[in-house]
Amino acid sequence: MAILVRLIRSVALALAMALMLPALAGAQWINPTAEAVQEAQLLKQTQRIAGECSIADQKACTVEQLWGRDWTYFNEWVLRLVGGGAILALIALVTAIYLVHGKGRIEHGRSGRVMPVFSAFERFVHWLTATCFFILALTGLNITFGKLLLLPLIGPAAFSTISRWGTYAHNYFSFPFTIGVLLMIPIWIHWNIPNRVDIQWMLEGGGFVGKKHPPADRFNAGQKSIYWVVVLGGLIAAGTGYPMIFPYDGTVIFGMQLTQLVHGLVGLLYVAAMVFHVYMATIGEEGAFESIWDGTADENWVKQNHSVWYEREIAGGSLPKAAPDSKQQPPRDPTLEPAE
């Protein structure tokens, strides 16, 4: 009887082992090297495949980043079309204004008396920023459009030299430019808060529609818009520009691409806005440029274009002085007469 029990137990054990064998053998057939990471599967999860590498420069530990081609597309097409389109649109706009509206005139002629409009410090801040901006704009435009417009004209060697010095100029002139923009905040921000006068000014089309001159304070709504473009655009340009002077400090490749994207777009839109600003201050309005050049403007000009401010200044005791000879009523130039 005991032998029989032992026999049954042995058979059962043998059966059990026979049943387990395939399972054990199966475990041996799993090939661990075939279970490795797949590129295709990683790219489904992430735009950037990175790992460990034995190089001090940790940027080298990125195997692949797919944003590169998207960023290239943005830089070559979107940036050029939007930025270039905006600049061309503003040039077309000021040309249309000039052709349709003509040059804005001092309606009652020059009074022969001038009043102070901008202090020496205000003019210094303006021209510090403006000079730097001019250099930054030219060198920046060269980076975006130079190889299309300038390279075919002057050839690769000269273009390369100009562009290399251009990048240096762009980097170094950014510092005084930023100082200029920062100084504009304390000296002008309180004059540029939008208020009710601006709404009326906008509703009356800023004087472009019809012959009226809507009232305005020290800066009209158009000038206030320019101010905010300069200050906010300047701060964004500086905020995205300095990370490019100190690249990869605290950011990876995607951060740099995004930074360049914003910088390029804001820069070109800034240039477009300045096309309008320069037109209005020079060709667009008679008597406007001298206020930022020598600091004084003709009384009739101030009365016409900045009536609210004029009345406050006069009420405050400001007395217009006799203008120097250069600002007296010039002899009428028949070619400049508005067509009527």
Partner: protein
């Protein structure tokens, strides 16, 4: 003409970094610049793989498209090269490059970069083949001597392949079929817009 490509069979790479060293030595690459590097994914974990990566000499290379100085050109062998005389060191090619290939020597304060340096597929630059000035700027020109890139030539496990794209793709396909698995031809979809079935 052949269409030159690199292919890293990650299932064979043993992370020995010999390709990195060979490249540095062959071209006298300065300190701080790495034309080729080995990256390990899932380091120390199951499924770990190492990939040797350098410039892939892309089809429609994004670096060439984005360069504001137009300093890139593609050779008859489809190798993407550049002129250091025209490079302005703006760093845009590094933003564009899907493989992080462009490298810049640091030449001054702030982030001012020198002329970009990258893998030339051992094919030198625009200067006369094998000239001293070419060697100084771009390193050896092995391709002009009928030799393939040194990194791939001396790879001990033949993980890194260089040569005509069709031939190295065929070699890789046969390997995958024989051993039954493959983690993919890394970077091929991004660089050449093609994939080798694995």
């Amino acid at each position: 003409m052949p269409r030159m490509k690199f292919l890293c069979d990650a299932d064979r790479c043993i992370e020995c970094n010999a390709c990195v060293t060979a490249c540095k030595n062959e071209h006298d690459v300065p300190w701080g610049i790495n034309r080729r590097r080995v990256v390990t994914i899932n380091d120390g974990k199951p499924g770990e793989r190492s990939i040797s990566m350098a410039c892939m000499h892309c089809t429609d290379a994004p670096c060439a498209a984005v360069c504001p100085a137009n300093c890139f050109y593609t050779t008859a062998d489809a190798v993407v090269l550049h002129s250091k005389d025209m490079c302005i060191g703006c760093g845009y090619c590094f933003y564009a490059c899907p493989f992080g290939a462009p490298q810049y020597p640091r030449v001054g304060n702030f982030g001012s970069r020198g002329k970009m340096d990258k893998c030339t597929y051992c094919a030198g630059g625009p200067e006369a083949d094998g000239s001293v000035i070419e060697y100084e700027k771009y390193g050896a020109n092995r391709l002009a001597e009928g030799k393939l890139p040194l990194c791939a030539e001396m790879c001990s496990t033949k993980s890194l392949l260089a040569g005509d794209g069709e031939i190295i793709a065929q070699i890789y396909k046969e390997r995958v079929m024989t051993r039954g698995y493959g983690s993919g031809a890394w970077g091929w979809r991004t660089a050449y817009r093609e994939q080798i079935a694995s």
